[in-house]
């Protein structure tokens, strides 16, 4: 078969223009397929790692998905709050290494405001257990200080020292501004590609302070407590929305989860973020499947191009094949020759695609990670991609059977003297 390989190579080189274009089509379609697969994987990982390093998320009893949606993704609202006392009791469990309380409900120009403690910046992790970083400034210390997510700062053009006011509730309804108590920007976080970028972070006490003269979702008529006297009040919150827990040992997570579920003070729910995120991905994952399906269709177009070029070349190659027959090639050699050519084009296309995708991942990966929260794109070929590549090869072999079979039939009919 070695002489055939030489002949196949030279024959292919002789038709390099049409085969080159076919190679381009195959390369592009396989590149698309590989990129979609790689980005899909990275998006999935990035999504699953929107929050990492947190062992349990605890909130009022309800749907676990809902709890993750409002604590991690700023989507939806809690149906009930958690008593401060319950939080303190559970955070004091000896298995708990750290705890971060979360208070949601206010917003600033459509971006959600999160009331928390400085421990949040210390313990919150995303992606591959990456901590939050400040591009400028630091965490809040004073009462009316705010730390902005990267997107909030970028979209609204805030810088350190700027002052802003918060709105009550999530919607930009006029008249429900905490206009009398402006906040100063003291820190801006680095982009994470997670919902953290879209949050404003203030202290729990600040949330209490701006609601001192409020009741039932609106200002109490005739009562106005100026910003400079709020510190005379007790700013310890009575309730929070949810809290994050980190454990000394991961193995304790299920025991603690059961313990929280059985907490007597009020009905609570603790979820493992990874499991809930996986469930959530199942529902949004339909998009990735559709993308992958479209990529396969594009690949099918590439393959039809290959088959069409091979079939079209057969007429001009009938003499060539007859000459090969006369020097001793059998019809199976002809079959092999044609399949070899398709195989070479496909293999070369696959190789070029892997190189292209890896170079693209190397060059564009960090940018994608920052912009879209993809986990870092892998440079090497993953086992999943290997399966994909073998699928591509198998499909190409199957398709190449068609022109090869036709060449086989032609060479049987033509014999040594093609009747052209």
């Amino acid at each position: 078969m070695t002489p055939l390989l030489r002949i196949a190579l030279k024959s292919a080189w002789n038709r390099r223009l049409t085969l080159g274009l076919t190679l381009l089509a195959i390369t592009l379609s396989v590149t698309l397929l590989l990129s979609v697969e790689r980005i899909r994987q990275a998006a999935r990982d990035g999504f699953a790692q929107s929050v990492s390093g947190t062992d349990l998320i605890v909130g009022a009893r309800g749907s676990p998905l809902q709890l993750v949606l409002y604590t991690v993704f700023n989507v939806g609202e809690a149906s009930n709050n958690v008593e401060w006392l319950s939080y303190q009791a559970i955070a004091a469990d000896p298995a708990v290494a750290w705890s971060v309380p979360l208070a949601l409900g206010d917003s600033h120009r459509g971006f959600p405001v999160l009331g928390t403690t400085p421990a949040y910046f210390e313990h919150y992790r995303y992606g591959d257990r990456q901590p939050l970083r400040f591009t400028s400034g630091q965490t809040f210390n004073g009462l009316f200080e705010v730390v902005l997510g990267a997107e909030v700062a970028a979209k609204l053009g805030y810088q350190l020292g700027d002052r802003l006011t918060l709105s009550h509730g999530s919607g930009p309804l006029p008249g429900l501004e905490h206009a009398d108590k402006p906040f100063t920007v003291v820190g801006i976080l680095a982009p994470t590609g997670t919902p953290v970028d879209r949050r404003l972070h203030v202290g729990l006490a600040a949330i209490e302070a701006i609601h001192l003269d409020w009741q039932g979702g609106s200002p109490i008529p005739g009562l106005a407590i100026p910003a400079d006297v709020v510190s005379k009040f007790d700013l310890q919150p009575k309730t929070i929305t949810a809290f994050l827990l980190g454990l000394h040992q991961r193995s304790a997570v299920f025991r603690l989860q059961r313990k929280i579920a059985g907490y007597r003070g009020e009905p609570l729910l603790a979820v493992l973020p990874g499991i809930a995120l996986d469930q959530l991905w199942q529902t949004v994952g339909i998009v990735e499947k559709a993308l992958l399906g479209i990529s396969w269709l594009v690949f099918a177009v590439g393959l039809s191009g290959l088959a069409a070029v091979m079939l079209a070349s057969l007429n001009e190659r009938r003499r060539e094949l007859a000459v090969l027959r006369s020097v001793g090639a059998g019809p199976r050699h002809i079959l092999f020759l044609l399949m070899l050519e398709s195989l070479l084009v496909t293999l070369l296309g696959m190789l070029l695609s892997v190189v292209a995708v890896s170079v693209a991942a190397w060059l564009g990966g960090p940018w994608l990670a920052a912009q879209f929260g993809l986990s870092t794109l892998p440079l090497a070929v993953s086992p999943g991609e290997l399966r994909l590549l073998s699928g591509i090869l198998a499909a190409a072999l199957l398709v190449s059977l068609w022109p090869a079979w036709r060449a086989y039939r032609l060479s049987l009919a033509d014999g040594l003297i093609p009747r052209l």
């Binding site: 030489r6 002949i7 030279k10 090969l324 020097v327 049987l412 003297i417």
Partner: protein, 222 residues
């Protein structure tokens, strides 16, 4: 060892779906190292006969024996191998693979037949010798075959048919694309190299003037 290189008896062939015979040949025998001129007008089943002798077609009835072997009874794969080992072909035109160099074209049979490769020992040297003997400019050896004139191509085809000393050389109108004055010279060169290789020659042509160069001559009935 059989003294006949080629023996054909009661050969009948028809194409599938066609009732009339494409070829009927009661007898054809050529002794080893002889040369036979087969005269056939077009449409006499000449190419069918060559396909049958080459083993790419199998007869419905009758018998073909090559070098004492019952060739037509072999499997298609064995016939392919036999063709590679023992037969050399020259056709009217388009003998060469256009994108291969002259030298690579001549060496093709040695790539498909270990027997022919081992007979020449040094294939490259033998290819150069044959091409020289057939009067081809050595400067052309590494050029793609497509760049050669028709006359040069036919000489390359002859060299390819003869390399590795196949027992049987089959030439199908190899001179019809050449000028009249070059035809005789080509036939003489071909026959002398065939004698040197010890090959039996079956030469098919419609041009009776060439018959004088051959040991025997036979007309195929239309």
């Amino acid at each position: 060892m059989s003294t006949q290189a080629l023996l054909v008896r009661n050969l009948e062939f028809r194409w599938p779906g066609d009732d009339s015979f494409a070829l009927r040949l009661p007898e054809l025998a050529v002794n080893r190292k002889n040369s036979l001129f087969l005269h056939g007008p077009s449409g006499c089943g000449k190419s069918t006969l060559l396909n049958l002798i080459g083993g790419v077609l199998a007869p419905q009835a009758g018998h073909i024996e090559l070098l004492g072997q019952p060739f037509s009874e072999l499997s298609a794969g064995r016939r392919d191998a036999f063709r590679a080992d023992h037969l050399g072909f020259i056709f009217q035109q388009f003998n060469l693979i256009p994108y291969l160099s002259v030298l690579d074209n001549v060496l093709l049979p040695c790539r498909f037949s270990a027997r022919r490769a081992s007979r020449v020992g040094e294939p490259q040297a033998e290819a150069r010798r044959l091409l020289g003997a057939l009067d081809l400019d050595p400067a052309l050896l590494s050029r793609p075959a497509a760049e050669l004139s028709v006359g040069q191509q036919q000489r390359v085809a002859a060299a390819r048919a003869l390399i590795g000393q196949p027992e049987i050389l089959i030439a199908d109108e190899p001179t019809s694309a050449l000028d009249a004055e070059r035809q005789a010279a080509f036939v003489e060169l071909l026959l002398s190299e065939a004698r040197r290789a010890g090959s039996t020659v079956v030469f098919v042509s419609h041009d009776l003037r060439l018959a004088t160069h051959f040991d025997h001559s036979l007309a195929l009935a239309a």
